[in-house]
């Protein structure tokens, strides 16, 4: 056992060296037109060696460290409590959610512009995560290309407004429906694949969409993106200082108040809030409908589900399509918030972040997803000084989370349909 550990630890340390030394140990320095390879400073080399030693020690005492980590939940008083009764839990959950929503409605009027803007982004991520939760958490399909549908929604609005002057409110359903259509068309051939294969193919699709957007320069502007995407209006009232669209009035003039650029930001935030609540409610309802049960049944036991007449393809496709629909929703809001979009906004990292939110939140649980979305979006902002190490911290947090609480922050407890006693 000990010998095996030693061997394994040695192996890991050597791999660390092999990976780290060429990357960190050499620098490419340009001198004039040439590029010269230089050795790094002794300090860097020492750090690399130190890292290898740390890896070696960690792997050597891995079992002990993991056991220690495993005991950590005992420190968490909430970890081992009895599960609440369903009716009580539902009441508590909806009370908490209502309070959060009421708080969220008034909150933007008291805080800075930057916070409201960040909160809008959080809400967009909540929408994305709730949608992906349907695909991954409920239907059990690992989709790594979710960002593609987000891009479809955003680009639909951008293009429609650029070429046809379509407003936000018209583009919102169109963007969502088009994203859903993409989900349907892309899903059809890939959903017969399982597990890892599905993950790889969806990953590919995500990249294909991004590369297409990058290369269809005449239509999408390629890497330059599309700018000048209009803000949403409120019953024909615009939030800019001057009215851009003919026939519209401006918000501040109608109400006779001074112009403030904050109005627009708060308005966008409120739209995102309403849409996020809408998303949460619709998905909650879907979970209790036959479709929702079919997703779960297929995830629980595919063979039994098929033997009862459930078609695997159409059930999975419905989850995929509905997930894509909400990504399209979020995409439209995102395009409007940014006013400018380019393929840069839809890289794989976005899919990964949304997936991380779903996993972190505890697959399937809505409250968990909301908390995780807040954590994943806001924590990096708070830790700005460490921004270079953002991904490193993110990765470390994910690994720790998987060791300490693999079921997520708030693992889903199913909402059961109860059969009332009949007399």
């Amino acid at each position: 056992m000990a010998a095996h550990n030693l061997k394994h630890a040695l192996f890991c340390a050597i791999v660390t060296l092999i990976v780290a030394y060429p990357i960190l140990g050499f620098n490419l320095v340009s001198s004039g037109t040439d590029i010269i390879l230089e050795g790094a400073t002794t300090q860097t080399v020492i750090s690399v060696l130190l890292a290898a030693v740390v890896v070696f020690l960690f792997q050597l005492f891995r079992d002990n460290i993991m056991a220690l980590l495993g005991k950590a939940p005992a420190l968490n008083p909430l970890a081992n409590r009895q599960p609440m009764e369903q009716s009580k839990r539902l009441k508590l959950e909806s009370t908490i959610l209502t309070l959060i929503i009421i708080g969220a409605l008034f909150w933007p009027f008291f805080v800075s512009r930057g916070s409201v803007d960040l909160a809008t982004l959080v809400l967009i991520y909540i929408m994305l995560a709730l949608g992906l939760n349907v695909v991954v958490g409920l239907a059990g399909l690992l989709d790594l290309g979710y960002v593609a549908f987000y891009a479809v929604g955003a680009y639909t609005f951008a293009l429609l407004s650029q070429y046809y002057g379509v407003s936000f409110w018209f583009a919102l359903p169109i963007g969502a429906l088009l994203a859903a259509l993409f989900g349907l068309v892309l899903g059809f051939p890939v959903l017969r694949l399982r597990g890892d294969y599905l993950a790889i193919v969806t990953l590919g699709f995500g990249e294909i969409i991004r590369i297409l957007l990058n290369n269809m320069t005449s239509l999408t502007g390629g890497p330059n993106g599309i700018g000048g995407i209009p803000d949403p209006t409120l019953f024909g009232m615009e939030f800019g200082r001057r009215v851009k669209e003919e026939g519209n009035t401006s918000f501040h003039e109608t109400f006779g108040i001074a112009y403030s650029s904050e109005h627009k930001i708060i308005f966008l935030y409120l739209i995102a809030l309403v849409l996020a609540v809408f998303t949460a409610l619709v998905i909650r309802r879907l979970m209790r409908m036959p479709v929702g049960r079919a997703w779960e049944a297929l995830r629980e036991d595919e063979i039994a589900a098929r033997s009862l007449g459930l078609s695997r393809t159409s059930v999975k496709l419905s989850a995929f399509t509905i997930g894509a629909f909400f990504a399209g929703f979020a995409g439209t809001v995102f395009a409007s918030k940014q006013g400018f979009i380019s393929p840069e906004s839809f890289v794989f990292l976005e899919s990964a972040i949304v997936l991380a939110i779903v996993v972190l939140g505890g697959m399937g649980s809505q409250l968990g997803v909301i908390l995780a979305a807040i954590a994943v979006t806001i924590l990096p902002e708070l830790a700005r000084e460490f921004s270079e190490y953002r991904m490193l911290i993110f990765g470390a947090a994910m690994v720790l989370m998987m060791v300490w609480r693999p079921q997520g922050l708030m693992p889903m407890r199913r909402i059961h349909i109860e059969l009332e006693k009949q007399e």
Binding site: R293, A297, E300, A304, R306, S307, L308, G309, L310, E418
Partner: protein
């Protein structure tokens, strides 16, 4: 109503089912018996569309169904249970029955989201049907438990109830008495007979419990090492020399 003609199924070098034929008339209980590994479950898997048979025909109500996807066959009214119980363990008992009725429910998303009256009515109907069958198999008190927490015998009954809410014409039961105690087997015996008598369902039964088979079967097919060995009424089978030899030879 069901006719299986010269069904063969080959797995690589193994001919698991070799030229098996059988037929089921309406209002009939037909059993398939045979030693372990004889190919009984494989016949079921072909009939229910899990396997595409190597050769042979399966006619259900005059239509060829061999090689059709499983969910289509089940929608035609041929539903099966499994040798190893397959429930949706983390869903409740009643939800297991609701899943099975998804086709009777309105599949229109919009009406479901808006809870239209017609949607509610259908939902209520499927809940009623579920509670009727739960009562019928004696599980009504456990309706809101997780299916995975039921005792083994209860799980078996739930699996049958789950088939029945789909309102099948032909029910295929794969060793429903396996692991049941004598009292439970007696109840099962009555239940199967009542399915035939009261609900007009034909049954194909795979079973090792000979007393159960002899008691309720109208006809019996014996398979040995994939090949049909004999078929006939329980009395004929009981006195068939080949069958006696095969079973004694195995024992």
């Amino acid at each position: 109503m069901l006719e299986v003609q010269n069904l063969s199924m080959r797995f690589g070098g193994l001919l698991a089912v070799d030229q098996v034929s059988l037929d089921v008339q309406e209002h009939e209980i037909v059993s398939i018996i045979g030693p372990n590994g004889a190919g009984k479950t494989t016949v079921f898997n072909c009939m229910s569309g899990f396997y595409k048979p190597t050769s042979g025909k399966i006619l259900f109500e005059g239509h060829e169904v061999q090689g059709k996807p499983d969910f289509r066959i089940s929608r035609l009214g041929m539903v099966r249970t499994f040798q190893h119980v397959r429930l949706f363990n983390r869903m409740t008992v009643v939800e297991n029955l609701l899943v099975a009725q998804h086709r009777h429910l309105n599949t229109n998303l919009i009406s479901g989201l808006l809870k239209t009256p017609s949607y509610r009515e259908r939902e209520q109907k499927s809940l009623d049907r579920a509670s009727y069958w739960l009562d019928r198999v004696g599980l009504l008190d456990l309706a809101n438990r997780d299916a995975g927490n039921l005792a083994y015998g209860q799980q078996r009954r739930l699996e049958i109830a789950r088939c029945m809410v789909t309102e099948p014409k032909l029910l295929m039961l794969d060793e429903p008495a396996a692991g049941l105690n004598p009292a439970e087997t007696r109840d099962l015996n009555q239940l199967i007979v009542s399915l035939k008598e009261d609900y007009n369902v034909s049954v194909v039964l795979i079973e090792h419990d000979m007393s159960l088979v002899m008691d309720i079967s109208d006809r019996i097919n014996v398979i040995n090492q994939g090949r049909p060995l004999a078929s006939g009424t329980p009395d004929e089978i009981r006195n068939n020399d080949d069958v006696i030899k095969a079973y004694l030879g195995e024992a």
